[in-house]
Amino acid sequence: MMRLLSFGLLLGSVALSPAQAAPPTGVQAPALSPADAAMLAAGEAELLRAMQMEIPGQAAPYYVAYEFLDGQVATAHADSGVLLSFDDNPYRNVRVEVRVGDYQLDNSRFEGGFGVREGVAMKGLPADPSTIAFRRELWLATDYAYKGAAEQLSGKLSAREGRPEDDHPVPSFEERQGLTTAPVPMPSLDSAATLNRVRELSKRVGDLPGLENAEAIGRDWVGRRVLITSEGTRAWIPTGFSVVRVEGVVRTPDGRRLRDCRWWVARTPEELPPLDEMVAEVEQMAATLEAAINAPIEQDYLGPVLFEAPAAVELFRQLLLPEVSGSPPVEMAPDPYAPADSRPAPTARVGRRLLPEGWTVVDDPTRAEGTAGAYTRDFEGVEASRVSLVENGVLKDILMSRVPRSNTHGSTGHGRGLGPDPREAMPGAITVSPARSMSDNKLRKRALNLARQADLDYVLVVKRIEPPALAEDFEVAFTGDGPLAGLTRPLEVVRLYRDGHEEPVQPGMSFLGVDRRVLRDIAAAGGVADMVGVLDAPAGPRRHSLGAVGGLPASWSVPSVVVTELELRAGGGGQPRAIPAPGE
């Protein structure tokens, strides 16, 4: 197994997300700003020209989309109340997508290998509202994307050559009517508040013994997505999110590095919790970290595990997301060295049991007002809808973008993606409901009963799991390696004894061999939980490289759960500092 170190609190890629509800069609449009007028004029003019592009003998564009993205992003990073970095930048970009062929068979969702372009290009645009300058950038980006799309389609056709024809071919792209929404004015952002929030929270980690880091990083992002397509769509979609992450790191006298984090994700800065609530949580984190310094070191553990609500969100979202996202796998160029059947593994199989009997999972971004995952239109301009994903523990329906798959309907309004990436189905606002809910007290007793059956004096309670964005390591498996963790590390673990008292153990443990089947081993669950905001990405490796403040906002409500049996490995050792800390 190879482990590669990555740093937890890195500025991540700027991801793009929808957020607030757009005014419905027909609402009196506000006057366009000069920049908006220039964007529209440039987009309309170049769209007309783009549809005339042609390379002799090659498929012509049948769909062109210009996605203008403009707004403001403020990112602040502080340690112990002192500023490490601060950026406050307006931005304006355009994502150009060209599809060649037709709705039934086009270039998209094919990976031709290293160096083969696709039908998408991103370009920065000037700040000044200049139609001609915007058009120049659109012209070159569209040309680049069209040539990429033509080559991508040829790769796809080449890869399919000689394969038996599919009896029920699935279209490449869902055909939809264009739509128009009213312009959305540019929101304002108080970046001083971003800065002050981060300063204050990093300060509140306090002066712990052995303190090495007391960092907070925050990003507030407000903006709009203006979608202009050859289908006639002219949609204005608000975009943005606010995220704050706080990290404390201490080193014990014997050299162990202990780390804990807190984080908040909301749709807007105003929807973040009040500062005093966040401060209280950070102070509680500091107290937990301090207590962990002298806590016992848990050895390898095999037995039941109680995941309290915040940890349960990570358990579910890391394991469940790939099972409910309906975007089909990307086609690949044939690999001459691969086994004969090198088709990608099927994903999101309707009819598969995912959870115990009686459990339900619903995604509904339209009824999640005030949470990070609320939105009315996805990145493809499609209205979000409620999807009943899991009924009685079995996957009944899946989330869809405009990329169809064989056994289901069109888009559910869940098509989103990072930067130039394809728009893929990913959750917006998910609610997980058990068949029966227990009180916290009863849930604990149930966990202890399971521990007793396993001949254990205590059960491990996982209170928090690090989100992938804050993970400091990741795993890559090669043939012959042992099982992977399958879940990021627990940050906060306590032993729960039969007499009801809790004893913290030192952070640093890791899970072993967790996969989606664990969810079927849930023995009991607590009551309805609050929505928790997260930053995420469509299923795939990008989920693990978002950085601390990158990703797309989503919300998950998951109750506390007891899993019958899990394996956790003891944390590794550490090395004391050779040089005493300043002031020691």
Binding site: A35, A127, D128, A133, W139, L140, D143, I579, G583
Partner: protein, 577 residues
């Protein structure tokens, strides 16, 4: 730094990155950053004094960098990019000056190098946090040094005796020079208008597909604190106005022309008219290159104009005169044993002098008073009367040269090695350029060659100095002219790179002009990118070789560039083509 915005830029709500990232120094009083670094270096040495393997030298370097970048394309400006960052480097040596942890572990592969740890310094002057950041990085670096030194000692014992038995590090006198610094006070508004207006001129040149005009200001305050007792605070300002234009030729070759002016102060900025001239020049060159013929591979006489000759010398001689290359047994060591030998014609002289601030009106990029190891910069003769005199030295000694001559340089994040500063090439008996051109034509005729070449300007180049690969160079010209012996006008050509091997090329220089030109730019090597300059006269070379340049294959854009604003009468709707 003062920042205001013009009316046209006011659509953007906030430009206040600098408001919270104010310059962090006191010019004539307490400097919290400097004092904190000194405290940590001293404390570390004393606290590790009794360690089993104590450090014998520690150095911390910090760059406090403010940058402003303004860009415009086709008459429209982007949001000014304003940033402030502090970048720290900690170097810890264990062992002794004779043998320490930085010693090369032989046969360990390309990836063996002393570990380096970033220093996450705050932007604000908080002594406790600065000290904590320095402490963590110093501790990480020290422990890595101890680990590596174990391997160094064994490697030294297991392997054969080194060809160069010199020490790993040399002593250097302590320098205490805490200079007054004054941050650049820049108002971007007038310059945004200059960039807008000048970039709009490209719209009159349809052959130029993409372009921009940029102003970049980098204002560095540098700190160096070492256990030698060195305490340096100094400042370096680099301001660059650049113009870039690009296009795609019909054969797919991407053609790019870049012009720039470097200056060390706002006073040296070009006027709006000069920037407009730069734009016109770039646009005309791009347009001409787009239809210029491609030259086949060719060997024959050529002239390198001053700037091209300067880059040429930087690549083929300058890099080979860097001290550490004489010691590394993986290096080709072209010049190592040639000190005192004639390697150039006797009329050629070369020296490197970082103490030069300017050359005539031109500020020099390679100017500094102290290198990044805290050693005073010195003028170093490299070639006199065609004879090799010596090498550019960092604090890593080589056989025959035990001390640094102030050329240990680095980009933040890398370990310093010997690098060039201002490389100055001069020639005896230079002639006016026109006469040199006549000499070229005479040679073409005498050798019965179809044409000669003039390399007018060069975008950059690289040189290979290792043993495992051919010891050669390649230089990428921007503009090359074909000179016909029959009196036809010179013809602009494209699609070639200048290639060769160093020792042969040195001996083929047969003449020079009586005027010099200056190249200013950045040089990338083992220790990252450092600013450099090179100065040279036009050179006549009896034989130079060109090879075809790497070519791209995309067709030029399928549609004509958009012209004036034409608002469509209806929306574009697909499906009905």
């Amino acid at each position: 730094m003062k920042l205001t915005v013009s009316a046209r830029a006011r659509i953007w709500p906030l430009l206040c990155a600098m408001c919270v990232a104010s310059p962090a120094f006191a010019s004539d009083g307490e400097d919290i950053l400097l004092d904190s670094l000194v405290t940590e270096v001293d404390r570390t040495m004393s606290s590790l004094a009794d360690a089993e393997q104590p450090p014998y030298w520690i150095g911390i370097g910090v760059i406090d960098r403010h940058t402003v970048s303004l860009t415009a394309t086709h008459g429209a400006a982007s949001v000014p990019d304003i940033s402030h960052q502090r970048m720290g480097d900690v170097d810890v040596r264990v062992g002794s000056f004779e043998l320490d942890n930085t010693h090369k572990i032989r046969d360990a592969g390309w990836f063996d190098a002393p570990e380096r740890f970033s220093v996450s310094l705050p932007l604000e002057d908080d002594a406790a946090l600065i000290r904590r950041a320095a402490w963590k990085s110093t501790d990480d670096t020290y422990r890595a040094a101890v680990r590596r030194f174990i391997k160094v000692e064994t490697n030294n014992a297991v392997k054969v005796e080194r060809e160069d038995g010199s020490d790993d590090f040399s002593e250097a006198p302590a320098i205490v020079d805490v200079r007054q610094v004054e941050r650049v006070d820049f108002d971007p508004a007038p310059w945004l208008d200059i960039l807008r207006d000048s970039s709009a001129r490209f719209l009159d040149h349809p052959a130029v597909h993409d372009s921009n005009v940029t102003l970049h200001i980098q204002d560095d305050v540098r700190y160096i604190v070492t256990t030698d007792g060195t305490r340096i605070r100094d400042q370096r300002v680099n301001i660059r106005v650049s113009v870039w234009g690009g296009t795609t030729a019909e054969d797919g070759q991407e053609l790019q022309v870049y012009d720039h002016i470097d200056t060390a102060s706002l006073d040296g900025l070009p006027t709006a008219g000069q920037v407009a001239e730069m734009v016109d020049g770039v646009a005309e060159k791009v347009t001409a290159l787009r239809t210029a013929p491609v030259v086949d591979p060719y060997v024959g006489p050529a002239i390198l104009r001053g700037r091209a000759a300067a880059v040429f010398f930087h690549e083929i001689l300058g890099h080979r005169a860097e001290g550490h290359r004489q010691k590394d047994e993986d290096e080709g060591q072209t010049l190592t044993d040639k000190v005192g030998e004639q390697i150039f014609p006797p009329f050629i002289h070369v020296h490197d002098d970082p103490t030069l601030k300017n050359w005539g009106e031109q500020d020099l990029n390679g100017h500094y008073l102290y290198d990044d190891e805290g050693v005073a910069a010195q003028r170093v003769p490299i070639i006199e009367d065609g004879v090799l005199q010596g090498f550019l030295m960092s604090r890593a000694p080589i056989e025959g040269t035990a001390r640094s001559n102030g050329h240990g340089r680095r980009q933040p994040g890398s370990a310093p090695v010997a690098r060039q500063g201002n490389l100055v090439v001069s020639a005896d008996d230079g002639v006016p350029y026109d006469e040199l051109r006549e000499q070229l034509i005479e040679r073409v005729k005498a050798e019965d060659k179809p044409f000669g070449l003039i390399f007018d300007d060069i975008s950059g180049g690289f040189t290979l100095t290792g043993r495992g690969i051919p010891n050669s160079y390649a230089v990428q010209p921007i503009t090359v002219w074909r000179v016909w012996p029959d009196g036809r006008p010179d013809e602009l050509v494209r699609g070639v790179d200048l290639i060769g091997t160093p020792l042969v090329t040195f001996s083929r220089i047969v003449g020079a002009s009586d005027a010099t030109q200056v190249f200013t730019g950045m040089c990338g090597a083992e220790s990252g990118w450092v600013p450099v300059s090179a100065i040279a006269p036009d050179l006549l070379v009896s034989e130079l070789e060109v090879q075809r340049r790497e070519k791209q294959n995309d067709r030029p854009p399928l549609l004509e560039p958009p012209a004036a604003v034409v608002l469509p009468t209806g929306s574009a709707k697909g499906g009905a083509r």
